[in-house]
Symmetry: C2
Subunit: 715 residues, 2 copies
């Protein structure tokens, strides 16, 4: 009777919060949905007791995650036991703190500080699953790995898994300002509530750390690269320290974006010249202060002499001189400097795609050994499609990490479905000609030139929105970033499938449909925004919607017309040796391929070449007809996403289904707008009729030019 | 066996989302927690079937709320039945759509459109609870009333309740901008996601409507009184219409803040002169467009010729001429104009407290009959304490509604606990001398001068934060606002107690402790910020923290020093007849009382008088000593709140307990800051020692003057 009452009360309590219980995306891919009866039998048999081999904060976080995940998936969590005493135990820890694990003499020597091993082995004569690593954080990664396997309904009875990250720096970059605004954020305000820190430690901070750790992210730059110097004030460092304390058990280090002009902006010095001893001392003292508060502080990310930010060039010093000065201040504390190569000068009117190369190539080998240069995936700025950045093939003496943008500044914000895994894989798999083992960009990233400074940084799409990322599908990009940072050679389709299973469910039709939608989604965006190698056609400032006609902005490279160069003769940007010769920035065999119109991949055609409207594409279409067809293909692809999504209605909870339905409707409306506006403009140049079967834009060009979006988010 | 399995599965499913299930404040006062066994027996017996008498969207909303509330509180919801067929039925509807209710011939004639009656009566020979009203919205209010009684563990077996609102306009004013920023918002961004409307209808919009309806709020002004003209563009009106559709079943009308200069700002006319026929036609056409989209649109709220906003005075027309022009455009559609009296002129250097009176008193009787003048509770601006606004005693021919600020711009933002019910009651209960039945401000509000335009507006504290209001205790102010707008004579303590029961729980110690904390909380804020009638001592712009020394702002009345007038002789603002004679704006008997130092209530002493530091207070203390003791009393009161709160730890869920603990720590830190900085400054004027037992501020005045808060929220 008492049992019944208790159960009834639990059921009642459970139904008490219909609103809070709705699938609102908060749980991300760690939903830990209950598994079906058959699978449950297997899983319960393989999880009869939890045996933590240690008592660190990280091991406790691992035990907590087991309790959370197993109780949710299996109905109850196994008890914690001091040693393996029955079949189905899970033993997790390091040889240093667990004699039981040490006794197993597992092959951990190649797994480094963050790798882990999961093996189904007998322990004390009992069937057990062992999660072992050299450091506790590896154990935590292994625990997440096992739980995620269960979320995906994969077998766990006979495991022999060894995993370790290929890159050491797996970082989110938050472009979050101290006033709570997120530059290029489409998911609410900053998740850092600076106003209530350090007193109020939001549970969300811990859930953020859990999510990051579950995909191997091990660092976070808390503030915008357009950095307020105030973040370096003691009152803010105390808040930063509180976040660092929350993140530490999850293996996540805190980094800060540092404004190079801080000593001046904070009115403490009259110069920020990196060769001035007072400046050097100022930064050393600041570093000392930071490390007193945060002993494992990661280091600085710096945007210098770029888009108005101060930097060493203000004092006629080089990027290397600036970076090395900061690096010297951090060096005694084992901190690093991540120096961004995203520079283009107000005084330089050469091809913007060449400017980072021009500035950084001569500095190769001149950086201190705790400096890594952070290079965007492409030479312009996070476009829907760019060729890989030429610096990846040009810096044999300098460790390079790649910066990608998880938040979709140029890909339709949060309401457009665009899975970025395919985009990043395209860049990572690109052949560089660089003399590394596999000659790919991924290979370059894995080569730290002896410093160990290998990594990827992702500009975060995490905000205060309940669903973290502004849409469910944008969570996939956060997830995929973690997976690529762990393994730059990962398969984007496998990642999409894994994410789908954990986020939406394991129904086979659902998994295949959603995965297929994701895999074609980014190409759809390219088709309706910037097909055939066009780039940066977005409206000014907010980058929402089309503006191919814009040509009146102060600096040439801010104008979409600068990039499309459409005229009555044709369209495209000649970067061949007859143009800006940007092809020369690549390794010779790469440069030769894209220098020739006929060997340039068609997806990059107008990036490298200006071609006549009647140029014949491989399809046999003229360039003009092919361009129009690309736009329509993009719009049609979104309609296809809508159809596929609608077919999933019986398989998806109402709230998330309705939201994505609404977002796809917005995407379709926007895709049509992009198509119509772009065609209206380019037709005013080409003076050609649309190919048969392709409709005229419903309005004239002036109509599209008059559209304003003054309140677009993220600016 | 199957029963066990089902239960076990439900329990498992229920524990699937530990993070989402935490008490995170989302459910507000509609938590519908399961009731204990004994009470459950009674409640279940009184809720055996639901018999809706009608099928409107509003009645369906009522049925949904019953299902949600009863299933949560009682474990399951009773079935819907077509007629009363057993004891314990709940019959709800109007005589117009329910013959069963019509047959009861209940005394509904005095309940108006929004009142309701709840009676325990036999129906078809069965024991039943009847919720009856003249309109469906009254039924919905009655349903919430019954559910809330159950949340408070009150008996429901023998009810005879008749309720109707005393005011007709019970409105939230959202100071929300189209870019998502909320002016004076401390709870995240705007809940209106204009970017994804009209496609994405967030479930939160419906929950907002539920919360409002549960406390009788029947209108919402969606946008900031500093209004963007863009809200009147068709693309935004379509979004507004979508929100109106969501809110309509809950009896909530949508209103908009209208920028008086819209025809000019939108580049459609070269003038906004209200007497220009083109301007009149423009607004008529705009009103026609709005009503085509939103047939029950409420009307416009206007801030004109105030703080830089355009208005009729730009064309040498009066506020009445401006308001009446808009009123004429809305009149055919039964819309209204709420015209704000919050004006103070850049050219007028008379006492700011007199300016609204000076401008509006001469216009009494000159407004159209669908205009109501919206007057803040006090003559300055939402301070922790102000005397009531003199216009409430001065406009016999004009309907006045009161504007209060639910969001705590001047009371410490979201992290200070300050229950505003006591503050509003103080203003509402004030004796005006106005010849209305009870001579109180509440009486003035209830007197619509024949127009029916009676009301209160509350500047909303609702944002995108998970807990809606930025803190749990700020939810109480939203709740209390609804209760006071329903009944301006309501008892703030009863409201606090009701809210506490529903929000925190019904444990007697918890209820009494929390209620008592709330009841003294606002006086604590007054004591540590602006004791003894001081006002507007907040730092510039963001109004966070003290700035009593500030005297260098362009306009005199922006400066705290303008209000405190502290010098070596004394402190306070002489508004007596020997000063600015602001006392003359009140009815003679009120003015006489505050004109005299000895009869002025001490809580308003320095509002009306400049007094020497040695002036003797009623306590026998000098003014200087009394001032210091007030600050310390405020700080001590916050320490008392902290102690009381700590004693509740066993009775409150972890997340909400921890959050409020952190917020009270912030409040204590801030209260200390206010105390120290204020005393440091005033001591520099008084040149007097602190009374015995009161500590010197730990820093000198320059320290406090140097504190900057550049990233305070809400600006």
């Amino acid at each position: 009777m008492r049992f019944f009452t208790m159960l009834a009360l639990m059921v009642a309590a459970c139904s008490a919060a219909p609103a809070a219980q709705a699938e609102d995306g908060y749980r991300l891919w760690l939903r830990y949905e209950p598994v079906g009866a058959e699978l449950k039998t297997d899983y319960v048999a393989a999880a009869t007791q939890l045996v933590p081999g240690g008592d660190s904060a990280t091991i406790r976080a691992a035990s907590d995650e087991f309790a959370r995940g197993l109780s949710s998936m299996l109905g109850s969590a196994p008890a914690i036991a001091p040693r393996v005493s029955r079949d189905g135990a899970i033993l997790y820890g390091t040889p240093a703190t667990s004699p039981a694990i040490a006794a197993l003499k597992l092959p951990l020597s190649n797994l480094g500080k963050e790798g882990f091993l999961i093996r189904s082995v007998p322990v004390n004569g009992h069937r057990a699953t062992v999660i072992a690593a050299n450091e506790d954080v590896g154990v935590l990664y292994g625990v997440f790995h096992l739980l995620e396997r269960m979320e995906r309904h994969e077998p766990i009875a006979a495991l022999d898994i060894a995993e370790k990250p290929k890159l050491n720096l797996r970082l989110l970059n938050h472009w979050d300002n101290l006033d709570g605004h997120v530059e290029r954020g489409y998911s609410g305000e900053s998740i850092w509530d600076w106003f209530t820190l350090p007193e109020w430690k939001k549970p969300r901070y811990t859930d953020y750390a859990r999510a990051d750790a579950s995909i191997g992210i091990n660092g976070t730059v808390l503030n915008n690269v357009n950095a307020s110097p105030d973040i370096l004030q003691t009152r803010y460092l105390e808040k930063v320290a509180t976040l660092a304390d929350i993140f530490r058990p999850y293996g996540i280090k805190v980094y800060l974006s540092a404004n190079f002009g801080s000593p001046v902006a904070l009115k403490e010095l009259d110069t920020a010249d990196p060769l001035d001893p007072r400046v050097q001392q100022w930064w050393q003292a600041k570093a000392d202060e930071i490390y007193r508060l945060i002993p494992d502080f990661g280091g600085f990310l710096v945007k210098a002499n770029s888009e108005g930010q101060p930097g060493p060039q203000d004092y006629h010093r080089s990027h290397a001189e600036g970076a090395n000065m900061l690096a010297a201040a951090l060096k005694p504390h084992h901190g690093i400097v991540m120096w961004r190569a995203f520079v283009y000068s107000a005084e330089d009117d050469t091809d913007r795609a060449r400017q980072a190369y021009a500035e950084f190539k001569p500095l190769d080998g001149k950086f201190a050994d705790n400096v890594v240069v952070q290079v965007k995936n492409g030479p312009i700025d996070f476009q829907p499609r760019e060729p890989f950045h030429p610096l990846f093939g040009a810096m044999p003496e300098t460790p390079l990490m790649m910066e990608v943008q998880i938040t979709k500044e140029y890909l339709g914000f949060n309401t457009h479905l665009a899975y970025l895994g395919t985009m990043w894989a395209e860049a990572l798999d690109a052949y560089t000609g660089y003399p590394a083992p596999d000659n790919s960009v991924a290979g370059v990233l894995e080569d730290g030139k002896g410093t160990g400074l290998t990594g990827m940084a992702g500009v975060a799409n995490v905000g205060s929105d309940r669903n973290w990322s502004g849409s469910e599908f944008d969570q996939a990009n956060w997830y995929a970033f973690g997976r690529f940072a762990w393994n730059p050679s990962a398969d984007p389709e496998a990642i999409a499938r894994d994410w789908t299973r954990m986020t939406w469910g394991n129904d086979p039709k659902l998994v295949e449909t959603v995965t297929a939608m994701m895999m074609r989604s980014r190409e759809a965006v390219v088709d309706y925004m910037t097909p055939l190698g066009l780039t940066h056609q977005m409206a000014t400032g907010h980058h929402h919607g089309p503006g191919p006609w814009i040509s009146d902005l102060a600096r040439p490279e801010w104008n979409p017309a600068y990039y499309n160069r459409a005229d009555s003769n044709g369209i495209g940007f000649d970067r061949s040796e007859s143009g800006t010769d940007a092809v020369a920035d690549y390794a010779p065999e790469v440069g030769r391929q894209v220098n020739s119109i006929t060997t340039t991949p068609e997806m990059f055609l107008l990036w490298f070449h200006h071609l006549p409207w009647d140029y014949k594409l491989r399809s046999g279409d003229t360039l003009w007809d092919g361009l129009v067809k690309s736009y329509d293909r993009g719009v049609d692809a979104v309609a296809g996403l809508q159809r596929d999504w609608a077919s999933l209605k019986p398989l998806i909870d109402t709230q998330r289904f309705d939201e994505e339905t609404a977002f796809l409707a917005i995407q379709h409306k926007d895709a049509k707008w992009w198509r119509d506006a772009s065609i209206a403009y380019f037709q005013s140049k080409s003076n050609r009729p649309l190919p048969a079967g392709h409709a005229e834009p419903p309005h004239d060009l002036e109509y599209y030019k008059a559209i304003r979006t003054p309140y677009a988010p993220g600016q």
